[in-house]
Amino acid sequence: MSWAFITARREGIDWLRQHGKESVGLDSKVLELLEQEWLSETPNYGEEWLDALRGCIENLSEESSQLLRSRYFGNNSCGEVAKQVGIRLNTVYKCLSRLHQDLKVCIEIRLNELKGG
């Protein structure tokens, strides 16, 4: 295992020890599952994946981009985002759900194009 792997993993475990599973709100079995799957997916990630995601985000509409920035960079709750944008809370959840799915598909297309090209 690489130094980065060991360091990053230790950071994560330390973080978990500090904060405890209560603040995470997930069962330890679920956490283990998530950890195992993320480990197994390691080879799929890299600079190409990151570039693809960045490219997809840059191609979003201004409204979609604003919503994502407000939620994830502005660190606003979905309720606050709903007030800012002037839509209902449930609509925010629906929009975010759709945007995350669209981004996933977009990334897959870009990565396939890269492999094909």
Binding site: S2, A4, F5, A8, R9, E11, G12, I13, W15, L16, H19, S23, V24, G25, L26, D27, K29, V30, L31, L33, L34, E35, Q36, E37, W38, L39, E41, T42, Y45, G46, E47, W49, L50, L53, R54, I57, L68, R69, R71, Y72, F73, G74, N75, N76, S77, C78, G79, E80, N90, Y93, K94, L96, S97, H100, Q101, L103, K104
Partner: protein, 448 residues
């Protein structure tokens, strides 16, 4: 609606902290049995981190363009890594973390719970004396360097001769001086909490409906765009407005007043009269202390070495020969204003200070003053040194007069003449561990 979409929305509500206990159990059940749900949660975390990282990079790039990069940072970009720098590096290598750490909880929670601490709110653009920075993660740094980028946290100027200037990303400039404690935050709008001390601010236009909020123990102040200064003690806040208009709320009774340009207002917990802004008074040029009532026995000028941490590059607290810097034994400090801290006191040509008291034995005594312009903006700190030799120990042996020519700039802008500047506070300290007291301090104009 498809079941998958319902699941996704449930997970987004989980990340939003918007679930009932029953729904939390449902999320655990869903994630335990459904690989697709776990994959979605990972996607959201990864995408969220990337979006925030891209925006942060863009903001920091803009900040860097706006602010001059320090020469040593230009030439040695890798040598002055601050805590913030290190944090940014963590984000820059986040794909490594995602790819290798395999802990969605870390990513999700670092992002969702600790994201605010990663955001650069402003930069330290000037300082002198001892400062302390406490980040919102609780880390304490007893020394921070000019150029350090700061997120949410608390900045303290620890001693009478300390000051620090912050430039916010939007261009607003805030200076604290003397023994001051300022907490900064920014979520939807800028929030400052001046727990004690002095602050001057030149506030850039704030977004509509999101004024900068400045809280003190006794008042709440809403600022859209203005120049102002504040002096805060536990029981009193004095607000002086030079430009623009500011709204102040007195916390003790909820009274609200609008403070226009060239006006001031005092919010005190002991004041039962109406909260009314008054025109700023004409300055006076004579002042005499009311000691010992207005004196403050100040903290030592050096922080405790075992608590020392550095936000920027490390500096040795020791002299080159290995010995530790001498710690002054006594410091006394006080504010300079007349009649209930309301009349500004300014320096006039040929004015002089007369300082009387008692000193234990031979030593250098440093007398310092903090200067502001008449609008309230911090200008500089000046000091004058006086050497005592062969002092008599039995009586009041300290009686000196200091002219303005005796003062040298200690920190701040050096091009200003002292004439016409307002004195906000003073301090006195011995250079050795020598006891002294100040029984009287007076500013005497030339004609008096």
């Amino acid at each position: 609606m498809e079941q998958t979409e319902l699941h996704h929305e449930l997970l987004l509500r989980y990340l939003d902290g918007n679930l009932s206990p029953v729904e939390e159990a449902e999320v655990n059940d869903l994630l335990g049995r459904d690989p697709e749900a776990r994959a979605f949660l990972r996607q959201v975390a990864e995408q969220a981190v990337t979006i925030a990282d891209m925006q942060r990079t863009e903001d920091n790039h803009n900040l860097a363009l706006e602010m001059e990069v320090l020469p040593d940072q230009k030439s040695n970009p890798g040598q002055n890594l601050s805590l913030r720098d290190r944090s940014d590096n963590v984000w820059e290598r986040w794909p490594w973390i995602i790819a290798t750490a395999a802990l969605i909880t870390m990513i999700v929670n670092i992002f969702f719970l600790a994201q605010q601490s990663q955001v650069t709110i402003g930069q330290l653009t000037g300082s002198s004396g001892w400062l302390r920075w406490t980040g919102d993660d609780g880390q304490v740094f007893d020394e921070i360097e000019v150029g350090s980028r700061l997120g949410a946290g608390t900045l303290e100027t620890l001693t009478a001769n300390s000051w620090a200037t912050l430039k916010f990303v939007d261009g607003s400039i805030v200076t604290i001086s003397g023994q001051s404690v300022l907490t900064i935050s920014e979520k939807e709008q800028k929030g400052l909490y001046l727990r004690e001390g002095s602050l001057s601010a030149d506030v850039a236009p704030q977004p509509k409906g999101k004024p900068m909020l400045i809280d003190t123990p006794t008042a709440k102040i809403e600022v859209l765009s203005t120049q102002l200064s504040l002096d805060t003690k536990p029981s009193t806040t004095i607000l002086r407005v030079s430009e623009g208009q500011v709204r102040m709320t007195r916390l003790v009774d909820g009274s609200i007043t609008e403070v226009p340009a060239e006006h001031q207002v005092i919010a005190s917990i002991n004041d039962e009269t109406a909260l009314v802004a008054q025109p700023r008074p004409e300055p006076v040029n004579w002042w005499k202390s009311n000691l010992p009532n207005e004196a403050v026995w100040a903290k030592p000028f050096l922080p405790y070495p075992h608590k020392k941490k550095y936000l920027h590059k490390k500096k040795s607290p020791h002299k080159k020969d290995g010995s530790q810097k001498a710690r002054p034994f006594l410091i006394v400090t006080g504010h300079i204003s007349k009649y209930g801290s309301s009349l500004p006191v300014v320096l006039t040509p040929d004015a002089k200070f007369r300082l009387r008291g008692w000193i234990e034995s031979d030593t250098n005594l440093e007398f310092g003053i903090s200067l502001r312009d008449l609008k309230g903006g911090f200008v500089a700190k000046y000091t004058a040194e006086h050497r005592f030799a062969s002092v008599e120990k039995e009586r009041e042996n300290l009686d000196i007069e200091l002219t303005l020519a005796d003062f040298k700039v200690h920190a701040g802008k050096t091009s200003h003449t002292l004439i016409g500047l307002r004195i906000s506070d003073w301090w006195c300290r011995s250079s050795d561990q020598v006891k002294f007291n100040v029984s009287s301090l007076e500013l005497i104009p030339a004609e008096k």
